[in-house]
Amino acid sequence: MKTEKNTIDRRSFLKSTALAGGGLMIGFSWLTSAKAASANAVVAPVELSGYIKIGADGVITLMAPNPEFGQNVKTSLPMLIAEELDIDWKKIVVEQAPHDRKYGGQFTGGSNGVRSAWRSLRTAGATARQMLIEAAAQIWGVPATEITTGAGVVYHKISGKSAPYGDLAAKAATLPTPTGLTLKGVKDFKVIGTSTKNVDGVKIATGKPLFTIDIKHEGMLIAMITHAPGFGLKLKSLDDMAARKMPGIKDIFTIDTYAEGTRVGGFNATTFNNLVVVVGNSTWEVMNAKKALKTEWEPMPGAVLESTVTQRQKMEEMSKQQVNAARKDGDPEAAFKSAAKVIERTYTAPFLAHNPMEPINFFANVTADKAELAGPLQAPGMIESAISARIGIPADKIDIQLTRMGGGFGRRAYSHYAVEAAVISQKMKAPIKLVYTREDDMTGGVYRPHYTATYRAALDANNNLIGFHVRGGGVPESAVAANRFPAGAVDNYLAESWTIRSNVTVGAFRAPGSNFIGGAEQSFLDEVAEAAGKDPIEFRLELLERARTKPVGQRNDYDAERYAGVLKLVKEKSNWGQSKPGISRGVAAYFCHNSYVAQVVDLVMVKNEPVIQKVYNAVDCGVVVNPIAAANLCEGGCVDAIGNALFGEMTIKDGRPEKSNFDKYRMIRHKEAPKAIEVHFVKSEKDPTGLGEPLFPPMFGALANALYKGTKKRFYQQPFNIKERLAEGKPAV
């Protein structure tokens, strides 16, 4: 099979993300759903919109529109509805919405969940509340303006009348949808800003089936795949004689995920399009048969079998060449010529596998004229048409249920496995659950790109930063964000960006691009501050003051005041500047996904290994919807970043990913996590912004900067491999 393209185009990612944000508003149709619901109001709970169902028994069901993968949207998004609907949170039921256009993009990613739903979901709550008030006003014959609500009850204080929402829902559903409602001010919030436990917390703690991998269906078979062991390889021969005879095996065949000629790119990207499929009765039987397959693989015509080492060499060559400027302010060349001091450092970071704890899996039951699908999907709206085209069933006959995901981190936005499952089910004429082994998952591509960046800073005789230059790129994407800090704070600035083509597939990974460039930039600024003889926080604050009062250029993508705000907050909370004997401290601050984060890491070195005593976080993400979950997500962002900084690495040799399971691919473990993490949110009335990603990038820098204090070595390469670096006794690169 040939595809026109098998790398993932980040531009299409961004476009789709933007669509997902706007889609929710556009797809919001009250009238249709209210009318449809009123027809059978007697039997079913009344739908006051796609998001709210009210039973005559008073039970209120709120729909969680976006898929949940640990970022808490299944709890925090319904909280937005509840706030304006004015109900008792303890008495509601939250349901995960299936994939349906009426819920908009239903995209989980880009730290966009709360941000994009902020207005629409509160409006949904306010609208339903107003309809209930209107219903009461008509029934009681009183003006609607005299009616108030409280905890799911409508009151007319003057006459002493009251009625629970359940009694009014049927009437309310027949009324026209009010518009132009005023939403509550931040000061009046009762639900938003109140710590609310995860709605699935009890189910998780008691082991209830929540994930797709837990799905059972009558007559369901288990399917597993074998993909090529490397990029650029295709199947040469398959001997399934032994495997076919093994117990419980129903069939073995090969499939193409996408038909020949399908335009692949963006979220329908696939890594290994040609797959060997084994289908059988139970997981263990299929796993064994899969092991008994004898496969030979050969290079695709013209394919290069890449290796990390050769990629690195190419990257070094590219780093030396002048490339097109992504942004240029002033005269950087002259600034570097006239500089009293020039500092130049190069940073690199490897491919990373997402490794969500739940391996890829998907349920499909495709019959002659319809398809019932369920699975972990970050972007259900973006795979539906690909499934429809591949199995020849119109999209309106495809039902996609969204389950809780065992992590995603970007990986589950690339849902080729949904197509695979549908194709397999169609062929088997049976419901199937496709399950990847951990090995299939980890060697399955869609990695975080392989990045590098070279920074140069020019200081004048008074240690002022007069020039700044970043030239970065990667295989096959660049992480350079030309309009981010310190752009706007330096008169002479140059950002250059390049890429190298590759057949290794990559994709969005927690804080795409930022997950490398944030740490690199923040490590570099630490070194520049040191060279300038300045405190690293004061140095950054000086630059931010410059950007605030006299910004250079127009396109700076950050708010210098909020940026400085988190630095000041972390300075205060960590008692920065007070010496703590034996403790090595590092600081970093970054802006991405619309939120501002500053972090201080305190560590001690024990036997050449860091023991992280404490991490202080200062976060400005606007209004915090659910503090307990927000803090959890921030803690997780720190832990995940520390793990990836210290250990995360996927290497490739002759096209083949070299690590396939957690014995070789090191993940951070309990012992290595910080002993304590403090999260301080800036008090804000601004609209909420992202939290899933912004904590991740700066931690690489804060950790490297603390490690420098503790080891006298700078860490330029991820993973940091501290023990090896210290044991080598090499001077810092």
Binding site: A205, K208, F211, I222, P247, S282, T283, M357, G406, F662
Partner: protein
């Protein structure tokens, strides 16, 4: 094998299991895989008596089948999760006679005659002190690793009701959480140890 008495057969499978575990402990993955391959060639089915969450049952099954898949595919207990299949992540943790074990590497034959407890059987009403603490601390993010974490924690508290930080670190180091909830896990264990 079919002519042997059930007891002999059991003994045989137990030795298979023991050897498998030794292979894993000694990091002799290849040896372990070869050993499994040899066993699978026979496609032996055996009647195995199990006690899972207090319920006695007999399964006619390939005795090499890992307990994890017996639980998930045959007994409809899906709380224990598949994460790695090589005893490296802890997602599949259950109790074997009260001790935390990785069910992905525990052949069902090795569990015959022993008591298996899964997250579903940890408490009747979901109110084991560890479960309560987990809910109180709102530990979970995606939640996928948490059944394994809870089972490891519950086994620790059984033998060590008041664990030190270091004891918690050691007992929990085999359970990976990609979401990074380790601090809450740690705090929840401390809370549970006080109840």
């Amino acid at each position: 094998m079919r002519n042997t008495t059930e007891n002999e057969e059991l003994k045989y499978y137990k030795s298979v299991a023991l050897l498998s575990i030794i292979c894993i402990l000694a990091n002799q993955e290849n040896l372990f895989n070869n050993y499994q391959a040899i066993n699978q060639r026979f496609h032996i089915m055996a009647a195995i008596n199990l006690t899972v969450n207090g319920k006695k049952q007999t399964l006619n099954i390939d005795p090499n089948t890992p307990m994890l898949w017996v639980l998930r595919d045959h007994l409809n207990l899906v709380g224990a999760k598949y994460g790695c299949g090589i005893a490296a992540c802890g997602a599949c943790t259950v109790h074997l006679n009260g001790t935390a074990v990785r069910s992905c590497q525990l052949p069902v034959s090795a569990a015959a005659g022993s008591k298996i407890t899964t997250i579903e059987g940890l408490s009747e009403k979901g109110d084991h002190p560890v479960q309560k603490a987990w809910i109180e601390h709102d530990v979970s993010q995606c939640g996928y690793c948490q059944a394994g974490q809870i089972m490891s924690a519950a086994a620790l508290l059984k033998t060590t009701p008041k664990p030190t930080d270091e004891q918690i670190d050691n007992a929990m180091n085999g359970n990976i959480c990609r979401c990074g909830t380790y601090l809450r896990i740690h705090a929840a264990i401390k809370t549970a140890s006080k109840s």
